[in-house]
Symmetry: C2
Amino acid sequence: MEASKSKKQTILEAAAELFRDRGYVATSMRDLADAVQLKASSLYNHISGKEEILQTICFQNANRFLAGMKEIEKRPINNTDKVKALIHLHIQIATEDFTSITAFNDEWRHLSDPELSRFKELRRDYELRFKSIIQAGIDAGEFVSVDTTIALFTIISAVRWIYDWFKPNRAISMDQLEEQIERILLGGLGVKGV
Amino acid sequence: MEASKSKKQTILEAAAELFRDRGYVATSMRDLADAVQLKASSLYNHISGKEEILQTICFQNANRFLAGMKEIEKRPINNTDKVKALIHLHIQIATEDFTSITAFNDEWRHLSDPELSRFKELRRDYELRFKSIIQAGIDAGEFVSVDTTIALFTIISAVRWIYDWFKPNRAISMDQLEEQIERILLGGLGVKGV
DNA sequence: CCTACCGATCGGTAGG
DNA sequence: CCTACCGATCGGTAGG
């Protein structure tokens, strides 16, 4: 059970790739079966249905972001460095696991309740925690006084689509990518000498 | 033909709304027919098929962005003001027409060739024009020296998802929204006193 | 893990 | 603009 990648894991990874390329709805169980060299009916020996796959991808990533957030919250650093760490977290997840992150970003709305509501709650929790850090940074005089909602979504959106256009093989290294995005976003918050 | 909104226009608007809420693939012609009080077969008296609707939405918006870009390019203003005008353009389109803009942003990949290739070309053209303005701003000493690709996509992404979270009825007015986003993004490019 | 198959639904057409 | 209907494909199950 630990020997090699389990068949279930293989299925989940192939599904994430198909969901990214064609979307959840446009990916059929037969497409997925072909990708893992199985007949469609055999998939059901490993998973309970199509939506279980989507649920797994969505909640795995949601939990990853939240775990990263909670770890960063506990660090004894100022708010500027926390925002930097969060930008780093987003970029790291987006570049490390860019297949499943696309499905996570774009396909969660095809979840059914109660999972859909639970997913939205997790996302909202994450956003509120992020917003608190921005607010704390403003209160501490680290950032200029901006609307925290606008700042939050500007930052999240700016890093959200990295997987869409960042090709790791380009003239830009991952470190440069991160340094420049930090400079633009933190510079925008009025932090000097980012 | 000019008396009231044509039936075709009604269908296109209902489709944009359904595509936004459920996605292109998950919206059936029967869903759409119900929304405009018709039988599915009657839709084909107004449109040639499902994909024509998607094409119309995608290219209408692509042309709107490009027309705005070309108008801004011609203005006798500096690059800082051009970037401001482009941010204004994105925010304006996103808030004015936020239904079809969602379909435009998220569903274009379901186009088939040759329309898919044509759409990507239009988008690339827009991006290159935007990038040229950023580069010109750097050359003129208006912006700090950043990677133009990173700056371009950071800006585009940051304004791309406004329709996702901006509720016009909130405590933030559209002018405030725009002013604050400009401040964050242009501040990030090193422009003083935005 | 497969063959065989289910009812439901898809985009679209024929014909009036 | 409708009724009636087409072949294709969907997610999933029965049974071995």
